[in-house]
Amino acid sequence: MSETRNTVIRNGRLIDPSVGSEQLGDLYLADGKIVGVGSAPAGFVAELEIDATGLVVAPGLVDLCARLREPGFEYKATLPSEMAAAVAGGVTSIVCPPDTDPPLDEPGLVMNLRARARKHDLARLYPVGALTVGLKGKEITEMAQLREAGCVAFSQGDVPIADLQVLYRAMQYAATFGFELRLRPEEASLVNDGVAHDGEYASRLGLTGIPVIAETLAIAQIVQLMRATGCRVHITRLSSADGIALVRTAKHEGLPLTCDVDMNHIHLADVDIGFFNSQYRFDPPLRSVRDRDAIAAALVDGTIDAICSDHSPVDDDGKLLPFAEAERGATGLELLLPLTLAWARRNKVALPQALAKISSFPASKLGFTAALTVGSRADLLVFDAEESWRVTPQALRSQGKNTPFAGMEMQGRARYTLVKGKLVYQAEQG
């Protein structure tokens, strides 16, 4: 890995998703920033040249939900392994949820994690703080101090708050300071021991179902609480057509509501579970083909603002179990780009608009602009939009090798990743 050097990226297809523009040309970087687009600033001497002929140059990806498993689950993954995976996938900023062990409910834990991330100095890390102490859903955390420690928002991870009084107070408190909550909409009492979408396929397999109303009722509650408190909310990992419809209505009303979906739910549905394949065990569950198609369409029409990887490294022991006992989730950081491009191709979405879902929009949630303009961060991704490659679990850098996309053909792959103007990843030339 190299230190920050004056760098020129030559002859690339420069795509700026923040304004939807595209042009051919050179990009000049110095001191961690973009210092020239098209032409070099006066006196610029390049110390490193990257030839981007035939390649796309775009802001680095911003993943709104990726579990790095530290602290507490280092047997599944570690910061070094997952940050290496991130930059290999072109992800330069990672937002990690607080569902670690212990959960990120104290400023000291957050500062520790950030210090460790800085030491490895690959991707940037943005922790989300726990909304309640121990994620137990009873007492709210010291949000203002967690913010000072570096938390960008507050969340329960995947642990729902059973007591609406607590959620109400948490939203009032967060609204006092203008903090944003990240909530995964799920009414726990309707989930129970459910493990799959409550539809024909789960009925056939005899898997306990999680009904769509578990999501819609939770969204309805969140929307009512937003009206009552004025709290800003980002709903994460929507799974159903009915849930999307509720979000669409709330956004039309003008509520400060944004949302994302994870990349798996754009491409997969309950029928893909096949004969109890635990690679397809997700929370929320993979829903019907109709829901999957509604997700893809809502990304096109803008109801869904962003795509996250929901990166969850799981070891083999967590997957080699009966479906209901298997651990949820899949590795994702290295697949976020190709799976977003696959959605874009299938739905005839232009590259700048597709990249906005995984860079400029999520960056706006973190308070910076992911753009190719002079003065912007030199967090960049240079990728081949056409390169085909097969997902080989053992070749993934993530410590989690489990993914339902193993063996599948992908199109689009990072060639170079730069963070703060520094080259942190370069693909081996095959």
Binding site: G199, E200, S203, L207, F275, L320, L321, P322, F323
Partner: protein
């Protein structure tokens, strides 16, 4: 999708579900069972099919009846039988399911009979056993209980002959029933033109119609003119709470009494997978009555399980040779 219970020649190497099982295989099993029954009637109870083979009955969920019938069936085929009751809690705390399986493989297992509380557990085992080892599903979660379905089919064939003229009603807790699902698939494949399920909405799975059944919520219309009534066992833990208010109310509406049975075809038979809850899903007058074929089901069950174990072993051995 590749069906993991068939080999590349389309032969049965594991029995995991009746779904997607071709009619020729269903009939092959039923015909083989008929041979065992005929031989038994003629005085032959012991067969050499599994001589020198080790059968492990792995019951991760409690069962006396099914385990016993599998034991008897394996012994009649001259197998060496070991039965293990493995409490779910002990595996949850230590050894995983696949650890257990690999240990028993190392002890020379040839055939696993598996009952597990989780739907799909036998698939996981079948996917990971050494080549040549067969897996027979003895009930997994709510998913499947294929040998029960096969013995039900044997019973229906024995008493009714032809499936293509029959109306069959399955009554009770379909939601939690692996028997109901396996019966529905087997009946469909064997050509039964009208399969009904009768239950309150709390005890029916979402989209059950997609399995090709007609849904009824009352016995009066559901039982009308049916030729076969399959009663399902109501598990104790479902007898009160959010699924049902009480056993009394369930019995009043869905319990099979002589009066309700009178709505069915005059020669209708009554089946039950056992163990029965008298006065909950079935009245004693029906359970002990002339139309009940519940004890013949048990007898046929042994022959059907012999047939299944013999066939999968032959096909596994054929593949090894």
């Amino acid at each position: 999708m590749l069906n993991p219970q068939l080999n590349s020649q389309g032969e049965l190497i594991h029995l995991l579900t009746t779904e997607g099982l071709p009619k020729r295989i269903l009939n092959q099993i039923l015909d083989r069972a008929a041979e065992y029954i005929a031989a038994g009637d003629a005085g032959t109870k012991k067969f050499a099919a599994l001589t020198g083979r080790s059968v492990f009955n792995l019951f991760f969920e409690n069962s006396t009846r099914t385990r016993t019938t599998f034991e008897i069936a394996a012994k009649r085929l001259s197998a060496d039988v070991t039965s293990l009751n493995i409490q779910a809690s002990s595996t949850a705390k230590g050894e995983t399911l696949l650890d257990t399986i690999h240990n028993l493989e190392a002890m020379g297992a040839d055939l696993f009979v598996v009952r597990h509380a989780q739907s799909g557990a036998p698939y996981l085992i079948a996917e990971h056993v050494q080549p040549g080892i067969a897996v027979v599903n003895a009930g997994d979660g709510r998913h499947a209980h294929p040998t029960q379905a096969l013995l039900d089919m044997y019973t229906i064939r024995h008493f009714k002959g032809d499936f293509t003229q029959l109306r069959v009603a399955i009554v009770g807790d379909v939601l939690h029933s692996r028997v109901a699902r396996s019966d529905i698939h087997a009946l469909s494949t064997l050509g039964c033109p009208e399969i009904r399920v009768i239950a309150p909405k709390t005890l029916l799975p979402v989209g059950i119609e997609s399995l090709g059944v007609h849904v009824y919520h009352d016995m009066a219309s559901g039982l009308k003119d049916v030729d076969v009534v399959i009663m399902l066992r109501l598990q104790n833990e479902r007898m009160s709470g959010a699924f049902l208010p009480s056993t009394q109310e369930f019995f009043k509406h869905y319990g099979l009494t002589p009066e309700k049975l009178a709505l069915a075809s005059p020669d209708a038979i009554v089946m039950h997978p056992g163990p029965m809850n008298r006065g909950v899903e079935i009245d004693s007058a029906v359970a002990d009555g002339a139309r009940a074929v519940i004890l013949p089901q048990v007898t046929f069950g042994i022959a059907v399980r012999m047939a299944v174990m013999a066939i999968v072993s032959e096909n596994q051995r054929g593949a090894q040779a």
